[in-house]
């Protein structure tokens, strides 16, 4: 039920629900941006039951991925562990 997935905002319509076209890996859906009014075209938003609930912080995502990559380098000699 708390399943929420990131998608990219392609287009925003004016109106009380701020309905946007959001692409999820190529599949598009209508999503309300009323809870994340600061989102603009090109942003990634996290979508739950037809509503964006946050704007994805791409820099924070990048920092996580870099930390994982650094850890993987360190962990290299133990690659053969079960």
């Amino acid at each position: 039920m708390c399943l929420a997935v990131p998608g990219r905002v392609l287009h925003i319509e004016e109106g009380p629900l701020l309905t946007a076209t959001v692409s999820f890996g190529g599949v598009t859906k209508d999503v309300s941006l009323v809870l994340v009014p600061e989102a603009t075209v090109g942003d990634y938003v996290i979508v739950h039951v037809g509503f964006a609930i946050s704007k994805l912080d791409e820099q924070a995502a990048q920092r996580s991925l870099e930390a994982f990559a650094a850890l993987s380098e360190l962990g290299e000699p133990e690659e053969s562990a079960p």
Binding site: C2, L35, F51, F68
Partner: protein, 376 residues
């Protein structure tokens, strides 16, 4: 898919699990609260990557599972009324009520529709002004703002034939109840990243202060969960108890102010019974008085009173123990034989976030590690 696939990388998963192994020196028991995380853990076999001293138990974070059986009975009754269109998320349809489920009500002629969003239910109300459209409002703090927004929109548009049967539940009171239970053995929590995306972290500061347990706000992909566990065991080994945010790409400390504002505008906290667990004070939401016209319980007062709040559980189902992390699904005697997704005895076997469903679906395979390796 961007921002999904990268968080399933197998090399990083191994490195994180190595780091967990190196960190753990004493036995610890930690709980992931959210059923979405339970599914990821079981699906990707993440628990197999942990050292034997680290025990992960599954929590009550499945709103469908904890919806009281009496409320399901009310839903079934309302869905069977002539002139009603009853809308629900799909996984609610097979949840057993006292005698039958919503699916049976549909088969018997009730107009039951599966919706993806509360806005789909509102659109149905606009399309059928001569019918009463009721939507089953199930979910945690993640979902409540969406239902609140649908109610505000219904009022703005003057839609009179739309109402909610509200079953919303709140996470922090449930964590408090687990910590207060006699014999509790949970020493740290992975908190649900999407709940905190909406609500922020402050309510968890309070729990940490009161109970001195570490809480790590965690995302839903395999690397998120492994990193969340790593941060948690680091705190435990160092004797720290803090709220940490693993899921910074979505969770801000203060949460989402717009979502909180609309949630508080439309709903207020209320006592709520959790199926299999019992009543937890102020652990649910109800519509505020100003929005009572959208409350299906008010609108169908006579019908709801007829059904009451009792409800009869299946005597064999151990869902209460499963939801409190006291029993693993395969240890339930009915699991996989008398209880299957086709013929469930309890809600955790059919909910998309139910622990029993996760084990039934994924635990009979041996290739789960493979899946982390190959991304999707």
């Amino acid at each position: 898919m961007k921002y999904v696939t990268e968080f399933r990388d197998s090399k990083a998963a191994r490195a994180l699990s190595e780091a967990i192994r190196r960190t753990v020196r004493r036995p610890w028991t930690v709980m992931e609260v959210c059923g979405g995380q339970t599914h990821a853990i079981v699906r990707f076999g993440l628990d197999a990557l942990f050292p034997p001293d680290l025990t992960l138990v599954h929590g009550p974070g499945c709103p469908v599972c904890v919806t009281p059986v009496g409320l399901i009975d009310q839903a079934i009754h309302l869905a069977s009324l002539p002139g009603v269109v009853f809308c629900s998320f799909g996984d609610m349809l097979r949840v057993p009520g006292s005698a039958r489920d919503l699916f049976a009500a549909k088969a018997a002629g009730g107009d039951v529709r599966v919706v993806y969003s509360p806005l789909d239910a509102l659109a149905l109300a606009q399309a059928h002004p001569d019918r009463q459209v009721i939507c089953f409002a199930v979910g945690f703090e993640t979902t409540a703002p969406a239902f609140a927004a649908a109610v505000v929109q219904a009022r703005r548009l003057g839609v009179k034939n739309f109402s909610l049967l509200v079953a919303h539940v709140l996470v922090p009171p449930a964590i408090g109840a687990i910590l207060n239970a006699p014999g509790n053995r949970v020493q740290g929590f992975l908190a649900a990243g999407h709940v905190c995306t909406v609500m922020g972290c402050e309510e968890y500061d309070e729990l940490v202060r009161r109970h001195r347990v570490p809480i790590v706000v965690t995302g839903f992909e395999p690397l998120d969960i492994l990193e969340g566990v790593l941060l948690l065991v680091r705190q435990l080994e160092a004797g720290r108890a803090e709220v940490e945010n693993q899921y910074a790409r979505s969770v801000r400390r203060q949460g989402n102010p717009e979502a909180q504002a609309i949630l508080r505008e439309v709903f207020e906290p209320a006592p709520r019974a959790w199926r299999g667990i019992g009543e937890i004070p102020q652990s649910g939401l109800r519509l505020r008085h100003a929005y009572a016209e959208f409350d299906a319980v008010e609108r169908f007062r006579g019908d709801v009173a007829l059904v009451g709040e009792g409800g009869v559980e299946d005597a064999e189902c151990r869902s209460g123990l499963v939801l409190q992390g006291l029993l693993k699904p395969p240890d339930c005697p009915a699991f996989g034989n008398r209880c299957t997704p086709e013929r469930p005895l309890g809600a955790p076997m059919v909910s998309s976030e139910g622990a029993c469903a996760a084990y039934f679906r994924y635990r009979r395979r041996t290739d789960s590690l493979q899946e982390v390796r190959h991304g999707e």
